[in-house]
């Protein structure tokens, strides 16, 4: 998946006529929409939703600042770059996603 995202990202940056602000945000197919958020430190957040969700950038930003930074980065036991191995992070992330306005438990 990394190769695909990298290609799309560099394609977007080359195509931009002027100063590219946020770069690659999302792409959609007939079945789903993939949302993408990248931090300046190279961390990439990907979320797949159905077609009704148009902008998940703020959601991904919230996941980064309030969940990832709080529960993974600030935890000295979690080695950055390895698998995210924190129960607290998983449960908080799950609770957060379930509380999103556009999340419906119908599917899954």
């Amino acid at each position: 998946m990394y190769g695909m995202l990298f290609s799309i990202r560099s394609f977007v940056s080359k195509m931009s006529p002027l100063d590219m602000k946020d770069g690659f945000l999302s792409f959609q197919t007939s079945k789903y929409r993939l949302h993408y958020y990248e931090t300046p430190s190279g961390l990439k957040f990907v979320m797949n939703t159905d077609l009704s969700v148009s902008n998940a950038r703020e959601t991904l930003q919230h996941i980064y600042s309030n969940l990832y930074v709080e529960y993974i980065v600030k935890n000295p036991v979690c080695v950055l770059g390895h698998n995210l191995d924190s129960e607290l992070f998983s449960s908080r992330l799950d609770a957060f996603i379930r509380a999103l306005p556009y999340y419906s438990p119908r599917a899954a």
Partner: protein, 147 residues
Amino acid sequence: MSRQSNRTTDSKKMNSELFTLTYGALVTQLCKDYENDEEVNKQLDKMGYNIGVRLIEDFLARSSIGRCQDFRETADVIAKVAFKMYLGVTPSVTNWSPAGDEFSLILENNPLVDFVELPDNHNTLIYSNLLCGVLRGALEMVKSTLF
């Protein structure tokens, strides 16, 4: 309302003294353990590096600053945003090299060294070397790679 703000300024002052004392205790213990200033400098740099690698994520999350366009912007962000956010001081950016690839950050008052005097037998000790390590670790995580 005023009582609330009093409390926050009090707690900030408390944290700063505890922080200064903690750092002092850390350096003192390192000096006792290694007994060699060069080694202590190296350890402080390593510790700072580990801090910096994580601190950059917290910084990016809190400040929502995007990528810097050039080195001068990087210098400004470090001095005016990052140092202000974490140490409450704004160092001055001076001494640019002619090629524009080196500069100096001068800290007028450094919270790490409040109340600290180095004795004569530790001439080569770089007391605040932790800060150098933090900068090294943080910047290494955001150096331009792909694109």
